[in-house]
Structure formats: structure tokens, C-alpha cells
Symmetry: C2
Subunit: 235 residues, 2 copies
């Protein structure tokens, strides 16, 4: 059995993607189980088939007898063995805070195409989705990105200096996702977030991560995940 | 200066309420700054007036030179000094996981009355709010509560045994909030969540917490917070 087993949707990069990135960046022994065995592996995990506490939703990590869910908890758990932890205790708290900020932003992006219910298809909530997207792109997205731009400008180009940490990997993923989902709006914001864009490039240049991103293991953004490109929403 | 300074909206029990409950339960030296000085104290904190990293949103905790935001990070930081931490390392991870589950549920409740934007008033998004609430009360709420009921049934009446921890305080708050916001729907679910209801009662019977809840320091639920009772949404 691999040291770490990750259970996440095998057809999309979503809340589990930062965990894939961390494990790939570290080059540790892990298995992306549903990519090998199919989506049934995720269903099994959600039904408690891994033992331990039954998770509400993926991603789920199994490490020995430990079965964890919630991406921020798993990321925090993995950051030390992956060599992506901040050095100081206050730094660790701040990284967690920033990670949860990015997770809040991810939730807001998700709800642009699913404002009414996760139990309905996008096509069934398109009208509300357009309203929500308009509001999100009219100020809110810029507010979030300005917040993070200030943080990493102040901290020397990363969220919690001096080194790259797991929250920087998360930022890279979310930025690329937003650029995919809302290319017009994102293009208009680029000039305001030079530090964030430089950080995303720097993260992608890390050798093992670059190899992952160039491989078939890295899934492209698509309309099954959180970051969906529906031109009519941005239009 | 008090040992801990909490900055949160002074007119509502919301994401900061679990922190008030933890500090009151522990009887530690703290100041709920905006309850004394007014909402300007929260505005100042959000503008970076406390030093450190500028928070995106309240609650904010200041402890010496440390300035933290994100309620789950602050709760995790405070749980040791408040005597509300799980004993084992895996227990601490699970408590954090469960806390974030409750926080996800809180977010879903919030969006029942604000499905389009936090920048609009409820009255401006009432139609979508009705749609979202219908979906939330038709299955999703029951799914969340069944998840937590299973967890605490399995763990002996609390989330992470053997003792009461901070996540149990959070559960008590969210349960009371849901009962306030959706009394009809909640009444129909009561029979399915005996362990959760017993836990909420047990939390409220803790002497210092009982004194807090009976005091004017504890704010009643109202239509400024997360848990709002709009009869037309439930009808």
C-alpha cells in the first residue's frame, strides 16, 4: 500500500487538486486511488469504506489508520512531510488562515455556477448564476485578489516567508482556475496583481511540480469542476 | 490590556460567537472590544489597525503581537488555553475537520438568505433566497445533521471523545441557530438527532457558559446575523 492514499474525483481538478500538487511536489509515495480504480473508490470512501470517521465529502486522505477529510486539514497535515510547512508557529497559523481565505474564494467561485443548490445542474439555475456572477465579477473578485496581493507583497513574494509553502501552491491553482473560468475579468485584473502572478509562475517552475503539470496526471480545467468557463456568465 | 482581544460585529451572534463561548467557558481574561467601543473597532481591525496581517473579514483575535482571523484558526488557537482541546493529535485533526464541517453548514445557512451577493440586502435577492432555502430544507439540512449525529453517536456523545471540546460548543451554537431560523423544519428533524440535542443541552449546562448565556453579553439571534428567521422562506 502506498504511504498516502488520496480519494478525490478522478475527472476534475477541484478542492483536492492542491493535495495532488503537494504530494507531487514532494515526490512522496502516494496513490491517487480513483484515478486508478475509478469513481467507485470515492463513493466507497464517502460511505465509510475506509474505516474511521465517515467523511461528508471528498477529498479524503488515508495515512495508515488515519482517515482525514476537509482539504485545509489534509493540507495542514501533509505540509510537514511534503516540505511545504512554514518554519515558525505563528507562520503556520497564518498559512492556515490564508489557505482558508483562498478556500472561501473557491467557494464563492463555485457558487457563481451553483447559487441555488449543488443538487441541481447549472442549466437549472442559470438565471441566478448570471446574477451571482455579475456581482462576483463587479468588485468582489478584485477585493479578494487585492487582499492576497497585499499579503504577499508585504511578505516578500510568498504568503508566509521566507520559503514557498503549501498555501502558495493553493494560490497558484486558484489563480489559474479563475483565469480559466473568467478570462476577460481576469485579464482586466492582471496589472493589479503582479506579485501573485509572479508567485504562480515561480510555483509552476518547481521541477517536480512542472513535471506533474506537464503529465497526464494533471487534469485540465473543465465544466465538471469548480472553475467552469461558461461564456454567457461572463458576457 | 486584556490577554485576548476579540473583534467581531457587536450586534449579532455569527461566526465569532463560538469564540465568545470558548472564552466565556474558560473564564479567561478577554475583551469583546466592539461590544465596548462600538462597531468602529471592527472597521479599524479590518483596515489593518491592529498591525500584523490585514484580515479579510472578522472575527479577529489579538493576542500579544499575534493578529489572527478565520474563526476555525482562532478556535484551534484558543482551544488549548481554554481547556477545550482534544487530547490526542489525531483527535485534534478530527476536531478541526468537524469544525470546518459545521462551518460549511453555516455558510450554506448564510446563503439561504444571501444567495446572490453579500453586497445586496436580503430583500433584493428574495426570489433566489426562496429557491435556495427550499433546496436546503429539502434534504440538504437533514443530510448534514445525520452526518454529525452519526459522528457523535459513534464517539460517545461528543465529537471527539472523551471530553467536551470546542467543536461541541460550535455544534450547540449552530443547532440553536438553525432552530431559530427554521423552526418548522428543525422540529421535524428533532427525532432524528437525539445525540446532537443532548449534546447541546450538556454544553449549555456548563456553569460559566450557562452564566454567559443568561447574561446580556450573549446576543440573541436576529435578522442581522447568519441565522435569520424569515417566515416566508420556510413557508
Amino acid at each position: 500500500m502506498a504511504l498516502y492514499e488520496l480519494y478525490y474525483w478522478p475527472m476534475l481538478p477541484g478542492r483536492g487538486e492542491v493535495l495532488r500538487m503537494m504530494l507531487e511536489d514532494a515526490g512522496v509515495d502516494y496513490r491517487d486511488v480513483a484515478r486508478e480504480e475509478g469513481i467507485e473508490a470515492v463513493v466507497k470512501a464517502r460511505q465509510g469504506g475506509l474505516g474511521g470517521v465517515v467523511p461528508f465529502a471528498p477529498p479524503v486522505l488515508r495515512h495508515g489508520e488515519l482517515v482525514l477529510s476537509q482539504s485545509s486539514v489534509i493540507a495542514r497535515y501533509l505540509c510537514e512531510p511534503c516540505g511545504l510547512a512554514p518554519r515558525s508557529e505563528p507562520g503556520k497559523l497564518l498559512a492556515d488562515q490564508h489557505f482558508l481565505g483562498w478556500a472561501d474564494l473557491v467557494g464563492e467561485v463555485h457558487d457563481t455556477h451553483h447559487p441555488i443548490s449543488v443538487g441541481l445542474r447549472y442549466e437549472e439555475q442559470r438565471e441566478a448564476a448570471k446574477q451571482r456572477t455579475d456581482r462576483f465579477l463587479d468588485g468582489r473578485l478584485a477585493q479578494w485578489l487585492a487582499h492576497f496581493e497585499d499579503i504577499i507583497s508585504d511578505a516578500g513574494g510568498v504568503h508566509v516567508g521566507p520559503d514557498i509553502t503549501y498555501v502558495d501552491l493553493q494560490a497558484r491553482f486558484v489563480l489559474r482556475g479563475i483565469a480559466y473560468a473568467f478570462p476577460k475579468a481576469f485579464d482586466q485584473l492582471r496589472a493589479k496583481i503582479p506579485s501573485l502572478l509572479a508567485l504562480a509562475d515561480r510555483v509552476e517552475a518547481r521541477p517536480r511540480l512542472a513535471a506533474y503539470l506537464a503529465s497526464s496526471r494533471a487534469l485540465p480545467f473543465n465544466e465538471h469542476g469548480i472553475f467552469r468557463h461558461y461564456p454567457e456568465l461572463e458576457g
